[in-house]
Amino acid sequence: MTTTTPMERLRGLRAVGELAAAYHRVPALLAELLDEAAPADRDALLGRAGRLLAGLDLDEVLHHHPATQMVTVAITGQSTVAGLVDPLTAELARHGLLLRPLIGDHGGWLHDLTDPRGQLLPERPDLSLCLLDAETVFAELPSPWRVEELAEAAERVLERLARLAAEHERLAPGLLVLNTLPLLRRHAGQLVDHASRARLGAVWREFNARLLRLTERHRSLVVLDLDPLTAATGPVEDARLACYAQVRYTAPVLAGYAREVGHLTRSLTGLTRKCLVLDLDNTLWDGVLGEDGPDGIAAADTLRGEAFGAFQRTVRQLASQGVLLAVSSKNDRGPVLETLRSHPDLLLREPDFAEVRADWLPKDGHLADIARQLGIGTDSLVFADDSPGERAQVRFGLPEVAVLPLDGEPALHGERLLADGWFDVLRLTEEDRARPEQYRLEGERHRLREDSGSHADFLHQLGVSVRIGPPEPHEYPRLVQLTQRTNQFNLTGLRLQPGDPAAVAEDAGRLLLAIRAADRFGSNGLVGALLGRHTPDGLLLENAWLSCRVLTRGIEQAVLAALLAESRAAGRPAVHARFTPTAKNHRAELFYPELGFTETARTEDGVLFRHDLECPPEPPPHVHVTLDLGWPTDAWAR
């Protein structure tokens, strides 16, 4: 074993020119670096690692690791924004992503983000970060100024930002990220009377509130609220660097901002974590069940017990928004289940957990089992444990699991859990809230499968029905999210952006269909989507997505069989489809050929298939399909 620090290993790799080739090891190295560093040093160390990584040749990394997701990020703002590159490089690298930064002109954000022929937009950024600060408003003021003038200036700036959001949405495919403006003492203190200061405070907060509300109107706009962030980081600026170098945010604020953008990018690229796996002893309750007995543990009523109770409330809050919970505990199973069922202190009970693993086997095995049972990848897990030994074992055995370092201070458990936005999504949907219930039903389906003689028998008893049709506008967010979360059955790796469904709906030449499924246990909700384009030689399927929750039930075959039969009945010449291999969709590689499609071309972008419709596939007999394409049958039979 090596005794060098992760930073030294990164430097060592760079020194021998092997950092690009080792890019796949960087996430684990950075996780170790963060875990080992003192809390006060984490941001600075990560920034330094970011500087080292920012020097990498992107092409070289992609040459060694072609499946790496490169994220193009336009970075512009009111002041000097170059300081964001290092922390953002590191934050994306933590998630295995590769940053391609595009830096805008100093202070030229409005032009940068609305000029279709400027430096940034033609590069089609996945994200545009526009880092605003108080100067965005104060630059508009005369000297001296009064609160009324500030209110007018704030109004003008808000109008400008609203126009920016609309223009960016029209011109660029990616998300625009704005932020609330921190009000500083050196602004408020310029007013000597408290009545004016109160008015300033009110006007300022109204500005920030209306800025935040712009996200209600613009689907591809995100406004980061800097208040909670700066409350945790300390000073917003160093007045000297602000004055001499137009640097208006300190390194800790930029580090926090970069962390949030990192998790936002995760969710856009389908990497949102889905399940929180919790240790029990000294994680969820105070004490060790095996030694202290059920009467000796606490999660309420004692000084430390209350802290664990607060942590349980935080966990339950996450669960209410669709985060799955599971237990991994080194304990005898019987007492654990008994405690989860009947201990008076606990807020979280047995039914709150999708899986409970309690035995004496290594925890990396627990986590692999939990992922398998839930039908998700181990890279969708977050693991929280107060024991350094267990964390090291999981980090070594399953480096793709996000490991939360809890310690002996339970009052900090909640903060540690939320320090990284592992479960962040762009918008929460009804399906998210219903997810724990969905997984409970999944358990019932699992039992039916175990009781059934064969898989075919199980499917027959399951009674699957599928409804295919254009999505309703209220389903757009869920549909976009589905494309962002789906990896295994995502036939080209494409993910829709928030504005896409509405744009496709308006385009008569294109087609977007939602797949909804149900069975005897209840509705599965919106489980898949098809994206297509009408061509003179029939329909081109640009992509297909199906949630891994419902794979292997014949739904994907039934959907395609119905679509092919419909095309044949309508007299269209063919149906075309595309498959592009990604890091995770290899299981779907033979999907089209097995339905009778023949390969027509093979390019860098993948394989093109054609089905001549002479012999459409037999639909799986156990699936009942309703197909409503939502257009007149001859609309595109050209």
Partner: protein, 79 residues
Amino acid sequence: MPGPDSLAGFLRLVRTELDLELTDRDAETELAALPGWDSMNLLRLVTLLESGSGRRLPVPTVLAARNLREIYAVLEEAA
């Protein structure tokens, strides 16, 4: 981290903390001509040197420095 007490020590600090490949002759090299130099490095140095020494540096003088020897001179002056 204590502040450097010699020009050589200062160069060593710059080399490791800013990840620059420097030789001892680079004390007089024009900053912009240092391999891998970017303008953010001056600001990083201010933060680094101030947190290391606990002293406040005259930022405009650091920003106006033409080479690393001049920055070290500012540091000595502030000591």
